[in-house]
Amino acid sequence: MKKTIFFTCVIASVAIGAAVLSQLGLGGGERTVIGNGSVSVLGRVARATDRLPPSVLSYPFAARNFASKDGAGARLLKTQDSLQLYAVPGKGGMLCLVEVDELAGTAGGACADRAVLRTGSIYMADRQEDGSRQVVGLVGDGHTFAEANGKRTRVENNAFVLPHVEGTGFTVGSPEATQTVDLGD
């Protein structure tokens, strides 16, 4: 009788523990993991071109999200035409992706917990006049490509640009694994 009660308690404890962990988002069994969330470009020696434009530092977003007021630790990831992408260390465990298009006079940013990089990308998707979206993304080490609508682009310096994404998602991946990223409707 005692054994039965003991085993019942053990099974109940395991079940409750599993339920709690899954609610905390630690289950993640169905999500493919690539890398450990590290971003090696943040470790390279700083250059003058890594400095964020003063206009970006003046936005309320910078004070709320960036680890330091002057954007210290930022790295220029990619320049494509007039578009520039930066990675910026964020507060707490966050990492930020910032895009600046000086010709268009636009800027944008997204900050998220670094854990996102293990199962996908910190990205921004801008709707364009033709209804497609331009997706810019930051991925962790290990990711080698991003792909949408059958077109694949290389990840360089932990970043990618997908210029005309139609549909509800795109993929990022390594030679061994692929992750699907949902853009929504």
């Binding site: 977003f61 966050m94 268009a104 944008g108 998220a112 917990d113 854990a115 996102v116 921004m124 929504g184």
Partner: protein, 125 residues
């Protein structure tokens, strides 16, 4: 007949020039403003926060979950005629800054599949 002769010396002219420059530089700022249109509430999936009080020539729109962001978000603007502009989807906290091209209303949304606390959504014009 009384003749009034105005005499400008160099110091006076410099002062007048500075006053004009200062006044001109303050004209755009006089119409500027900022507004928090979603304040410290839970947002359900696809729930939309709106700043539809008065259309403005917006230059900035931001959604801020808080310091622990990691969920899908969206900010966008719509003209009174219904045309959508500056539509950006993000992972986590999100902002979009742009020239003041259109008179618009501002919107933000939690695009994750679960309810999340949003500290605020704010716009500037």
């Amino acid at each position: 007949m009384v003749h009034v002769q105005l005499k400008f010396n160099g110091r006076c002219a410099l002062g007048a020039t500075l006053a004009v420059v200062l006044a001109l530089s303050l004209v755009p700022a006089a119409g500027a403003g900022a507004y928090i249109y979603w304040w410290q509430r839970n947002m359900a999936p696809d729930q939309v926060g709106r700043d539809t009080l008065t259309p403005h020539n917006h230059s900035y729109n931001e959604l801020y979950f808080g310091p622990n962001a990691g969920w899908l978000s969206q900010v966008w603007e719509v003209t009174p005629a219904g045309y959508r502009h500056f539509d950006k989807r993000c992972v986590g906290n999100c902002f979009n800054a742009h020239p003041r091209y259109f008179s618009t209303y501002s919107y933000c949304a939690n695009r994750d599949g679960r309810v999340h606390f949003v500290y605020d959504c704010m716009d500037e014009w």
